[in-house]
């Protein structure tokens, strides 16, 4: 598993000073880590589109945020992406748990979204990478380079047990 404190340190080093989102059990260690640090401020949102709104405001203000959500939450942010973050060229890193795969076989509420997650990202023209234990720093580098080049949201997909 990726060390959450190291993960946040790398993101902060790359210019990210805020985070928002709605939790997933996959991110519980990461969210707990916000209690121990002051470099990245976490704002708990009531909905995932609200979190994208907050990250958009942060970007308007000249800072950077990342947004955490389940892929079920990705299904709620279509308008926040297309008519705000993408339209106004507001960069942000979306960190999305990839629910609905094999470990979630007893959670049918995630099945369909799990199957269409990549299509949904591609459909909304959001560049994405799978985050893995092995080369996570390189993946973050690729994602943030793309985010800065395009000045638009990019996403990381995270399976169980990675973060």
């Amino acid at each position: 598993m990726i060390n959450p404190s190291e993960f946040l340190a790398v993101l902060h080093e790359k210019g990210i000073s805020f985070a928002s989102g709605v939790p997933c059990s996959y991110f519980s260690r990461l969210i707990n880590e916000f209690e121990n640090i002051e470099t990245v401020r976490y704002i708990p949102a009531t909905r995932e589109d609200e979190a994208v709104g907050i990250a958009s405001g942060v970007a308007f203000g000249g800072a950077r945020a990342f947004v955490i959500m389940q892929n079920s939450g990705y299904a709620t942010i279509g308008d926040a992406l297309t008519s705000l973050a993408q339209l106004y060229k507001l960069p942000m890193l979306l960190i999305i748990s990839w629910r609905g795969l094999e470990p979630d076989r007893d959670f049918p509420e995630h099945s369909l979204m799990g199957a269409v997650t990549e299509d949904a990202l591609a459909g909304y023209q959001v560049p994405y990478w799978e985050l893995t234990d092995e080369d996570w720093q390189q993946t973050i580098e690729l994602a943030l380079t793309k985010m800065n080049e395009t000045s638009r949201p990019v996403a990381l997909l995270v399976k169980q047990g990675v973060l």
Binding site: I43, A45, E50, G53, S56, G61, L84, L87, Y88
Partner: protein
Amino acid sequence: MYGFEIIQALASVLSGNERIVSSNGNISRQVYHYCPQPQIYLRGSMGLPISVGLGVALARPEKQVLVILGDGNLLMGLGSLSTISYIRPKNLKILVLDNNAYATTGRQKTSSEILDYPSLLDGFRIPNMKPILREDSIENVRNKIRLWLDTSNLSVLPALIDVNPPLLSNIPLHPEQITDLIRASND
């Protein structure tokens, strides 16, 4: 009292250190036409002006961030009241122009007539000002706006108003240009 009159009254008392976030439709058009430029004119993302304002307020603590939105927008993003009350940025102020209608799409009624703003905002523990009322004089409105701007905390000013949006041309800027102008004025 109409929404555009309140935006005009606001424009007359701004200090220049404000950053306005305006909601999609008529309100963004009115802010574009009546207030100093540039501001963050939202074209879409209904329900999100308060969350955008929160993000700006956190990233730019030296700016006074004013969110102007209608009742339709407020109701769509009501959860953001809980978030801003929890975070409580001192430099965030919200003006709700409640005309009880989706005025931009043809004055269809919203359900906002059931809202009691002082109770609603007290329930969220958000400091709130005495609402602007339909029968208030423009001088009275200006005074209520001044009091709201002078508070040193998060604060909401509700305004109960009539529907009569003036016909204004669309904002002639592409959203990418709006972002460029905001970034340039951040420096």
